[in-house]
C-alpha cells in the first residue's frame, strides 16, 4: 500500500461500500441507460428523417436518394473544367471524351491514395546495374 509522506494517511483507500448506495451502481446504470436511450432515439429519428422530409416536401424530392451528379457546366467554373480536361489529356494521352465530372463520395478517396503512391514511387531508388 502506498502512503502519503506528509501525514501518513493511506494514499489508496479501498472500499466497496459506496457502490451499493444510491450514488453508486444505480446511478451508473441509470447514466448508461440515459446515454443509450438518447442516442438510440437520435438514431431512430435519423432513420425516419428522409421519410419525414419526403412526406413534408413531397415524394419527388425524397432526400434519402443520392442526388444525381450535377452537369459539369452548372457545378464548376470554366477554369476548373479546363484544368481537369488538361489533366485528363496528359494522363490518358489517347483521344478521349469527358462524359461527366462530379465530386468524390467518401468511398472514392482511393484516388488521393493512388496519387500519393505514385508520388512516393517516383522517389524509389533504382538499381544502377540495370
Amino acid at each position: 500500500m502506498l502512503w502519503a509522506q506528509e501525514n501518513s494517511l493511506p494514499l489508496v483507500e479501498f472500499t466497496l461500500a459506496p457502490l451499493w448506495e444510491e450514488h453508486g451502481i444505480p446511478l451508473a446504470l441509470m447514466g448508461i441507460f440515459v446515454v443509450f436511450v438518447a442516442l438510440a432515439l437520435v438514431l431512430l429519428f435519423i432513420r425516419l428523417l428522409p421519410r419525414l422530409l419526403a412526406w413534408v416536401t413531397g415524394p419527388t424530392s425524397a432526400p434519402s436518394l443520392p442526388s444525381p451528379p450535377a452537369p459539369a457546366n452548372e457545378a464548376l467554373p470554366e477554369e476548373i473544367l479546363v484544368v481537369i480536361a488538361a489533366a485528363v489529356a496528359v494522363t490518358l494521352g489517347a483521344p478521349h471524351r469527358i462524359v461527366s465530372i462530379r465530386g468524390l463520395t467518401p468511398g472514392e478517396f482511393g484516388w488521393s491514395l493512388e496519387g500519393r503512391m505514385q508520388h512516393h514511387q517516383s522517389h524509389r531508388f533504382r538499381n544502377r546495374n540495370h
Partner: protein, 382 residues
C-alpha cells in the same frame, strides 16, 4: 559598518522580492512539466493548440509571488483570477462547444446512423470509472468529475469538474488534455488486442449522400431529444447544436465562421492558459492528483475497449459488418480518435478507408459524453 549593514539588508530585501525566495521543489517540478508540454507540442506535434497554452500557463502558475504581490488565479482581484472566472464558472467550455458545433459535419453520422451506438458504448467507460473512483474513497461529486475524463473531451471534463469538484479542476483538466494528446499512443494497443486481423480488414460500404434539409433539421431535432432526456446537458449540447445549425443553414455563414475560427481560438487560448496557471504546485501536487491521472488512464482505456467490444457485439446481429476498430472512435477526441482508427486500419489493409466511417461514432461520442456529463451533473449536484 552601517553602510554595509544597509547594503546587506537591501540585498536581503531584493532576494525576498524575487521569485527565488518562495520557490519550492514542487514549483520546479511543475515548471519542468510545463516545459515538457511545450516540448511535446512543438517537437512531437501532440495537440499543440492545447499543450502550448497549458504548458506556458503551468510555468506562469508556478512562479511564486513576492510578498504582498498577489498574482495567481487563486488570489482575489488579480488579472489571472478574472480570466480564471471563465473556467471556474464553466463559461469557456460551452463557448468551445459552440465553435466545435460550427466546424462539425454530422453528415457521416446521418448517412450511417447505426454507428451512433458506438458513441454511446464508449461512455460506459465514464460510468465504470465513476464506480472505480467511488471505491477509492472519492466523494460521488469527485468521482463523477474524474469519470468524465473517459469521455476524452477536455471542455466537458472542465465543465463538469467546475460544477462538481472545483478543487480537482486543475488535475482533471491536465489529465483529460494529456490523454487526448496521447490518443495515438493509448488506443492502438487496445484496438489490436481486442480485434483479430480479419476484423481489422473489414471494409465498410461507402456512405450515402445526405441532403441539406437533413443536415438543417438534425441539430434542432437532436437537441430536443437529448435535452428532453438529459436537461443537465442543455448547456453543452445546446451550444454544440446551435453552432452546427449556424453552419448548416448557410444563411449565418459569418456567425458560423466567427464561431469556428476567431471565437474558439480566443476561448481556447484563455481556457488552456488559465487551466495551466491553476496547477500551482501547492494545489496540484497532491496524492489525489496521482490517483486522478491513474483513473483517467483507466477511464480512457475502458472507454476505447467498450467501443470496440460493442462494435463486435453489433456484428453478431448485422448482415453488413462494421469494422470493430471504428468503435474506438466512440470516445469524443475529435478527430484524433477517428484518425487513429484510419491509420490502424490501413496498417492491415492500405486500401481500406475508415476515416469517414470513424467520424460517425466520433461525433456521436461528443454528444454522448455531453449527455453523460449532464446526467452526472443533475444527479450529483447538491
Amino acid at each position: 559598518m552601517s553602510l554595509i549593514d544597509d547594503l546587506m539588508t537591501k540585498v536581503s530585501q531584493l532576494y525576498e522580492a524575487t521569485a527565488l525566495a518562495g520557490m519550492e521543489s514542487g514549483n520546479l517540478i511543475m515548471i519542468a512539466i510545463g516545459i515538457g508540454f511545450i516540448y511535446l507540442a512543438i517537437a512531437r506535434h501532440y495537440e499543440p493548440l492545447l499543450l502550448v497554452p497549458i504548458g506556458f500557463g503551468v510555468i506562469v502558475g508556478n512562479i511564486p509571488s513576492a510578498a504582498g504581490m498577489s498574482l495567481s488565479v487563486y488570489d482575489d482581484g488579480t488579472v489571472l483570477r478574472y480570466l480564471y472566472f471563465g473556467v471556474e464558472k464553466g463559461i469557456y467550455p460551452p463557448l468551445i462547444f459552440l465553435g466545435i458545433g460550427a466546424m462539425t459535419d454530422f453528415s457521416t453520422m446521418l448517412s450511417n446512423p447505426k454507428l451512433i451506438l458506438l458513441g454511446a458504448a464508449a461512455q460506459v467507460g465514464v460510468f465504470l470509472t465513476y464506480l472505480g473512483a467511488l471505491t477509492l474513497a472519492f466523494t460521488p461529486q469527485e468521482a463523477g468529475a474524474i469519470g468524465i475524463i473517459g469521455g476524452a473531451d477536455g471542455p466537458t471534463a472542465i465543465f463538469l469538474s467546475s460544477r462538481l469538484a472545483p478543487e480537482l479542476l486543475g488535475a482533471i483538466a491536465i489529465a483529460a488534455y494529456s490523454y487526448m494528446a496521447l490518443v495515438p499512443v493509448i488506443q492502438p494497443p487496445i484496438m489490436r488486442l481486442l480485434t483479430t486481423r480479419d476484423e481489422r480488414r473489414i471494409r465498410m460500404q461507402p456512405s450515402r449522400q445526405v441532403s441539406r434539409q437533413e443536415r438543417i433539421v438534425f441539430p434542432v431535432a437532436a437537441f430536443l431529444i437529448c435535452a428532453t432526456l438529459a436537461p443537465g446537458a442543455i448547456v453543452l449540447i445546446g451550444m454544440l447544436f446551435f453552432g452546427n445549425l449556424m453552419k448548416e443553414c448557410t444563411v449565418t455563414d459569418r456567425l458560423a465562421l466567427t464561431a469556428r475560427s476567431a471565437m474558439i481560438d480566443v476561448v481556447t487560448i484563455l481556457l488552456g492558459f488559465c487551466v495551466g496557471a491553476s496547477t500551482n504546485a501547492q494545489h496540484f501536487l497532491q496524492a489525489k492528483s496521482i490517483l486522478i491521472f491513474g483513473l483517467g488512464a483507466i477511464s480512457f482505456a475502458v472507454a476505447t475497449a467498450c467501443g470496440v467490444l460493442f462494435a463486435k457485439l453489433m456484428n453478431l446481429f448485422l448482415t453488413e459488418k462494421i469494422n470493430p476498430l471504428v468503435g474506438a472512435a466512440g470516445v469524443s477526441a475529435v478527430p484524433d480518435s477517428a484518425r487513429v482508427v484510419h491509420v490502424v486500419g490501413q496498417q492491415e489493409d492500405p486500401q481500406n478507408f475508415l476515416l469517414m466511417h470513424a467520424m460517425a461514432p466520433n461525433v456521436a461520442g461528443v454528444i454522448g459524453s455531453a449527455i453523460a456529463a449532464g446526467v452526472l451533473w443533475s444527479q450529483l449536484t447538491n
